[in-house]
Symmetry: C2
Subunit: 349 residues, 2 copies
């Protein structure tokens, strides 16, 4: 896993400065396009051009099952992970629709599910095991499995680059995966699970309390709150295959200089792991949306991130990022196509 | 102005119910698409179909100058209103770029500017006068001028309908127009101007304090805080040609059953006037974004509106709505194209 510590690519400060200068002379009051200005400037720095654009977004959905699902922490049965993989492949899932609308590449990476999946178009099999172990009783992954999962993410980025993609989005599918994501966030943010545990796909009050207890017990069992463990130790102990794959993908994407659009709660847990492990990765991240999951705001704060959208979404799959692609493109269009005060003959203040 | 009191078209509760039912069986946890679900349902009710879509948005930019600009309440000189009209026509303004990116019709309605504008493509001349009167000393408009401005908006909706458009967006341009918009909101929301007056295009602290005093003096001069005036009296007394045109457009759009996407601060002041005057108009309004202008949140509260975007934008022109078109379209795509649990063979909880 030595590759994960290699520094990320450098942002281009020349094109960043050129983009800042251009924003200041476009025909609008300074700053009046808000985050659309900062997004264009960030993309200019990432893409090394003062005319940034998003032509070919790549959406990698990492799927995996979770041993912790046996504890009854989700509103849906575990078989839904594999059922949804088929739905992704057939174009019926939310992220499938968004990928089509946005003209994005969509590829599913099966990291290991409890139920078998037949060969499907746009689904590649990278199964590590039939789901992680139940982390209430043992580490979710062995170190070797965690390394394998991280490498799946790296592979996805290599595929995205080979196809000439210019934006990397990770999505995920894995019944019960808000539980490992919350466990990771609790440790890395040093926060009481009760403060940040949410309803995931829609559990009731009783199940929510149970979910909090499960996380608390698991963190205690593994001594994660007292040992000050590394980000990767936390990932291996209470994470999931798809979360590790996303963390690996973010690291590889940043190393390759491919801009990342981070989705919601699960993806942000992976982003936390990636940034804690290799802080240089942060430079390459844009943040799509504020998840309705209550722990997400704390994660965003820790990542110094201000997400673009806040639509009350809590679906996962990369769906928030799938929506936010539109904002990135419009930010680029405005940046590239608006007239300057001089060109338009408009008086500046 | 009797036409302004005619009831709006009725929403279709059958297609609304069908859309609600469909959202419940799509392959996602109930409610997990947040506002994208409610937008699709609202559009289904407006369009009378359970497969809503936005094919042809119409953006009408109403431009007008303001006598109150003489009080030094803006960061930009008044000539910028006409300079920006030329910029709209030539495609260099933010809303021009957004209209092109979104495939929207863009038409500028000149309601009356201080400086002359030569004939330009996509700009129609409806000039009422060379700007409104300075409402610090007299009513901004005569009653006849106010009626004329309202009719410009009605005409814009007729044009939109004649071109088969399915979404109406009003934008505006008028140096100093946050001052009349704030004055209107202060009266209609019974709020101290100091609480809701903002920096508009970017005035400094001193000018901000002066702007607040100008509004306070104008409201006192016209006895607007004690007389409990009608919405149209407020509009006529401290409004603007373009604000009246937008109010008229919203009323006409709702009467015609054409969905409205309300932009930011100025448009929301017009929306307040329209809804206070004819409450049935509210049913046809979607709200694009939360403006960075401080009074906007109070307006949204009064209109029971939850805007889709919050990007720190404060440009006007209809730019926030121009961006939000993408969200409406993606909401429709998700609603229409996602698979149901039954079709996809996915287990529901």
């Amino acid at each position: 896993m030595n590759w994960t510590l290699v520094s990320s690519a450098s942002l281009n400060t020349d094109t960043q400065q050129a983009a800042i200068a251009r924003q200041a002379i476009l025909t609008k009051p300074a700053g009046s396009l808000g985050q659309l200005e900062s997004i264009a400037i960030q993309l200019a720095a990432m893409q090394g051009t003062d005319a940034p654009s998003i032509q070919r977004p790549y959406i990698a959905i990492f799927a995996g099952d979770h041993g912790i699902a046996a504890e009854g922490v989700s509103a849906f049965p575990q078989v839904v992970t594999t059922e949804m993989i088929r739905n992704f492949a057939r174009g019926g899932a939310a992220i499938s629709v968004l990928a089509k609308s946005q003209g994005a590449q969509l590829q599913v990476y099966n990291c290991g599910t409890a139920y078998p999946v037949e060969p499907l178009t746009a689904v590649s099999d990278h199964s590590i095991a039939a789901g992680t172990a139940n982390f209430l009783h043992q580490a979710a992954m062995t170190q070797a499995q965690c390394a394998q999962a991280l490498a799946i993410g790296k592979n996805a980025v290599e595929n995205a680059l080979a196809q000439g993609c210019d934006l990397f989005i990770a999505g995920e599918m894995g019944i019960a995966n808000t539980t490992p994501a919350t466990a990771i966030a609790s440790v890395l943010l040093d926060t009481d699970p009760a403060q940040i545990t949410g309803r995931g796909t829609g559990i009731d009050d009783k199940t929510l309390n149970h979910k909090i207890k499960v996380i608390e017990q698991a963190l205690a069992y593994h001594n994660l709150l007292t040992l000050n463990p590394s980000a990767f130790t936390v990932l291996q102990t209470v994470g999931g295959f798809e979360i590790a794959a996303i963390a690996g993908a973010y690291i590889a994407s940043a190393q390759a200089g491919l801009p990342i659009l981070v989705d919601g709660f699960i993806s942000s847990a992976a982003a936390l792991v990636a940034v804690k492990h290799n802080p240089s990765v942060r430079d390459w991240m844009l943040f799509a949306h504020a998840s309705a999951e209550p722990g997400h705001a704390t994660m965003m704060q820790a990542l110094a991130a201000k997400p673009l959208l806040d639509l009350g979404m809590r679906l996962g799959e990369g769906s928030g990022a799938g929506v936010a692609i539109s904002l990135l493109r419009l930010a680029c269009d405005l940046h590239n196509q608006m007239a300057t005060f001089a060109d338009a003959g408009v008086s500046n203040n």
